[in-house]
């Protein structure tokens, strides 16, 4: 039951960051190499974790466990709250160190562990001052990101979620471009302003669990069971959804609150951009997927159209904005905003297809946009500009760079055969079929109407990305004077190091494009089990109208379960174990009214 491996994955970069101060002063080469070495150790540990993840695992009672590789121990109280009975729990603050992964988070964890060594390696030539601090911060950033994906306790999740701001603040502020201070401050204050409201939501949720269950719990597993059993009253769900969304939407970023992102991306050093686009933005979508949807099913259902409309506005608006950028990096940044809009759309289709597409999209976007930032970084290191008007025709002097830029552009715009296509397709499929009521499943919140503008976004995406490729790669050769600058051991075209950096990402893109099944299977199980699992009572609480209640009461329980179960075919209520509920929730059919008292 208790597995050390995730703790090791999360905290090994922290140990590495401390050990980084061992090489003697002034030994920049040693520092770089050891940073890369430590991040590779984390990668190795992650691979061990993935292997163990696939080994069958059962709990002490013999049931299959829902979160694998779990480990929990007391934190704010002395004992592990899970091991106490309800009477004891009532007196304790139920906040614990709980980690564990499921089929969604293990791959996002893998993405983090995969991109960090690449980000570290990519900085070897670009970062020439305050080297030791730089790599320390990158490793600390990895601690925060891995921690978010492994947390099974809401407060622990929040702690890691917030902690990621600190290293990135310094990475942007110290090693960034000319406007770095402004960018770093804007990034920090903007995201913090949202997440303090999330913090308030977390506290309120803790209080509410006490009201309902008789003890405080912030365990994600128990919270999502609460949500699925309809123990959270709809008004409470609304408030909590808004509070969570305040933090997550800024991180994603969703349309009206995206303005920090282009500045932060443009000013960040290459590795910062890679991590920011590759992993950090996913913390927002992951938060929606892991917290908002399972814990607050009613509010998610009702607010899904709003989120979807904002996502679509973001898709179109950011695509148009990207089109007129002259800074390549800013263009890619806006493309991120546009792409994350697809992710949100898929999540809030509340269908298995849409959600697995969205999660796959997170991974894909991390790979291809991360790689695009790497390529842009390579160009910038040589030409010291990213202005589309000052460079051009680079395909001739830099054929390798041209290959990778075109490759990742195609991956990013969703060329069939590459990874982007699969995610995009599933998202649109999920959105389109969201409103269908086939197999007696209830209609999802979205429908065809949402697909048409989103598909327009795909076309626009192809337009601006290919336009950028044309400007940078083709036409007459344009180079600023005194360039390319090869002073840092760079060649005219990509060096062997840079090619080795980009090749594994490209291979992943091809693999995911051709054979996404293993990953999608793993997503699907977890989505059915953790994200979209809901029961009659929660749906009952959602609707809250008498006609539905009467309708429910008039049928056989099995039929009801089948009618209102969103995703699980066969209709059984897949609630693995019930919570010790203090408030009497009699049968499923009167759960809603018990909460509304």
């Amino acid at each position: 039951m208790n597995s050390w491996i995730l703790t090791a994955v999360v905290f090994s970069p922290l140990v590495g960051a401390l050990l980084l101060w061992l090489p003697p002063r002034g030994d920049d080469v040693g520092v770089r190499r050891s940073a890369l070495f430590y991040s590779l150790i984390t990668l190795a540990l992650t691979i061990v974790a993935i292997v163990r993840f696939y080994a069958p695992e059962t709990s002490a009672t013999g049931e299959p466990v829902s979160y694998r590789l779990a480990y929990s121990t007391g934190w704010i109280v002395g004992a592990d709250p899970g091991s106490l009975d309800p009477q004891d729990r009532a007196r304790e603050i139920g906040i614990a160190y709980r980690v564990g992964v499921d089929g969604i988070s293990i791959w996002l964890l893998a993405l983090t562990s995969f991109l960090t060594p690449l980000a570290i390696w990519s900085s070897f030539s670009g970062i020439r001052r305050r080297v030791r601090e730089y790599y320390t911060l990158l490793l600390l950033l990895q601690v925060g990101m891995s921690g978010v994906f492994c947390s099974l306790d809401l407060l622990l999740f929040y702690v890691f979620f917030e902690f990621t701001l600190v290293p990135l603040y310094f990475l942007i502020g110290i090693w960034g471009g000319p406007q770095r201070r402004q960018a770093a401050n804007k990034f920090f204050v903007y995201t913090l302003a949202g997440s303090v409201l999330t913090f308030a939501g977390v506290i309120y949720l803790a209080f509410y669990t006490y009201e309902v269950l008789g003890f405080v719990t912030l365990s994600l597993e128990e919270l999502s069971q609460m949500g699925q059993q309809g123990l959270l009253a709809p008004p409470v769900q609304w408030w909590l959804f808004l509070a969570f969304a305040a933090g997550f939407a800024i991180k994603v970023p969703l349309f009206p609150v995206h303005t920090w992102l282009p500045l932060a991306h443009t000013e960040a050093p290459t590795a910062g951009s890679v991590i920011l686009a590759g992993v950090l933005l996913k913390l927002g979508t992951y938060g929606f997927c892991r917290l908002s949807i399972p814990i607050l099913p009613a509010a998610s259902f009702e607010l899904a159209p709003v989120v979807a409309v904002l996502a679509i506005i973001g898709i179109i608006y950011a695509a148009l904005a990207a089109w007129v950028q002259t800074d390549v990096k800013k263009l890619v940044a806006y493309s991120s905003v546009s792409h994350l809009g697809f992710c949100m759309l898929g999540l809030f289709s509340l269908k298995v297809a849409g959600v697995s597409g969205a999660v796959l999209y997170m991974v894909n976007h991390g790979l291809s946009t991360g790689a695009l930032f790497l390529v842009v970084g390579c160009v910038y290191e040589r030409y010291h500009t990213r202005d589309i008007h000052k460079i051009g025709g680079l395909a001739r002097p830099m054929p390798w760079m041209a290959f990778f830029l075109v490759f990742f552009t195609l991956s990013s715009i969703g060329l069939p055969g590459l990874n982007g296509f699969v995610g995009e397709f599933l998202v649109l499929l999920g959105t389109a079929t969201s409103g269908s009521v086939a197999d007696l499943r209830p209609a999802g919140p979205l429908g065809y109407g949402y697909v048409i503008p989103a598909a327009l976004g795909i076309i626009l995406g192809a337009v601006y990305m290919l336009w950028m490729c044309r400007c940078v790669l083709f036409g007459p050769l344009k180079e600023p004077p005194n360039t390319p600058d090869t002073s840092a051991g760079l060649a005219k075209d990509l060096t062997r190091r840079e090619i080795t950096l980009l090749a594994p990402i490209a291979l992943c893109c091809v693999f995911l494009g051709v054979y996404p099944k293993p990953m999608l299977d793993s997503f699907e199980t977890s989505i059915r089990e953790h994200v979209l699992r809901t029961s009659v009572s929660s749906f009952h609480a959602t609707a809250g109208d008498d006609s539905l209640a009467a309708d429910v009461e008039g049928r056989e329980p099995e039929a009801v379960a089948g009618a209102f179960d969103w995703v699980v075919p066969g209709g059984g209520l897949p609630v693995s174990r019930d919570l010790p509920v203090a408030v009497a929730v009699g049968s499923e059919t009167d759960g809603g009214s018990a909460v509304e008292r």
């Binding site: 007391g74 934190w75 704010i76 109280v77 002395g78 009532a90 007196r91 304790e92 603050i93 139920g94 305050r130 601090e133 407060l155 929040y158 702690v159 890691f160 917030e162 902690f163 701001l165 600190v166 603040y169 310094f170 502020g173 110290i174 770095r180 201070r181 770093a184 401050n185 920090f188 204050v189 913090l192 302003a193 303090v196 409201l197 913090f199 308030a200 506290i203 309120y204 803790a206 209080f207 006490y210 009201e211 003890f215 405080v216």
Partner: protein, 536 residues
Amino acid sequence: MNAEFQLRQLSPEFILLIGACATLGLGAAKASLIRCWASGLACGVLLLALVVTVWQGEPAGTGAALGLWVTPLTFYTRCIALSVGLLIVLVNWRQPAAQERGEYMSMILFSLLGVLLTASANDLLVLFFAIELVSIPTYVLIALSRDDRRASESAVKYFFLGAMAAAILAYGLSFLYGAAGTTVIHQVANGVVSSTFPAGPALGSSALIGLLLVIFGLGFKVAAIPFHVYAPDVYEGAASPVTGALAFLPKLAGFVALLKIFTAFNWVMPAEINWLIWAIAALTMTGGNVLALLQTNVKRMLAYSSIAHSGYMMVALLVGPVAGKGPMHDGVAALLFYVAVYGAMNLGAFALLASFRKGDKDLETLDDLTGIARRAPLATLGLAVCVFSLMGFPPTAGFLGKLYIFASAFCVSEGHAFRGPLIALAIIGVVNSAIAAAYYLRILASAYMGEAVGEDLAPVGGAPVRWGLALCSIPMFVLFAWPAGLIEQARDASAVVNHAITVPTSRVTYAESAEAFDPGPATGDSTLFKAYPESR
């Protein structure tokens, strides 16, 4: 159960008193002797007092006498005051010129003695004297702290305004005495809380006036808006290490005194008083943070930040000891936890300012900090940890402190009359933490993001100051990872102030409290033994 009051329970106070006198006496010795011994002696005295306190352990079932009552609240306050006091001595190790150091250190010890007495006071008069014993040495401290006209100016300013606050406080206490007919704190409630409560108004008019004046007087000590006006000027004028002490000692004493006064009223507060404290808390948080945004002088900025922190603590004060159910409801425990964390993190920020000089000037403005991260990476890391903790950012203890405070406000139970305003106040507080980040980040930006390498920065103060800074910042992580011990102590301490409240989720009534207490004859002599009721 009816254990007698024993003088040895006051041994930490006696150790401090003797130590303070000895240090004062040392001030008459030769300069070389003082240089060697003054700070070390003060440090030793504090260590001894701390060891004795911990060795005696948490008091249980002890009586009250001489206007003093040693309770778990006393124990908790002693522990944090002496621990932070040790850090204060470390940070001030080489502060004034050698010939004045004996007097200087003894003033710190006297001020701490005042804090300890405040924590055990069980009589309005003793409480007043104890509070003044905290304040008066700080006037001397400021004047002695540096050879600068601004230091004298701020000492005088602080003295006059402090005297006025003391007068207001004394006036308020005399009203309370008039209303209650006794000065014994745990008997005040019997006199002031009206017998018609909760049907009629809770307090008579003279008790109300007394309470108002006391809140104003103590509001000055904790630098709550609108009684804060002295803070930025005084903090700016005093030398940085003193400022660290100044932002903690009166605040701790003020909050402990407020706890005592509210306990004297059995936490029965009329709505007007609740709204008054609500307004003060909201103003103090918001005003402190917004005004801090406008500063370029780091000391002024930290002064306003300490005002804002008082605001956060007032949220917990308003929640009170039992305002809801569940394990996170306890506002008093949250306050006590926060004030301990605040003491260390705030002192740490001032310790960095104290440990460097730019040319021949003290570090004061944001520009002065430029390049310090490259000149002294470890010390600046300590500053960063303290600043992130002040910001309430994980993984530091400041985050947990904020968590407790706001959780206590959110966990007020549904039936509570003041629930809505309390939740609104907590949301104001949460939003304020985001505002605060904007100016704390400017400190970090100056320290880390400049191009300068800080060649003109010279370390001063030597190893003890560095140690002080380290001991301020390392506990931020330790208390984040293992908060349970301190929280348990804070909860025990909080159990004292709600000892009268027998029915959770509802405020105690007069009749219940009278039963719970059984006051003896209020003769005020040592025959007045009071058993500490076992409510836990």
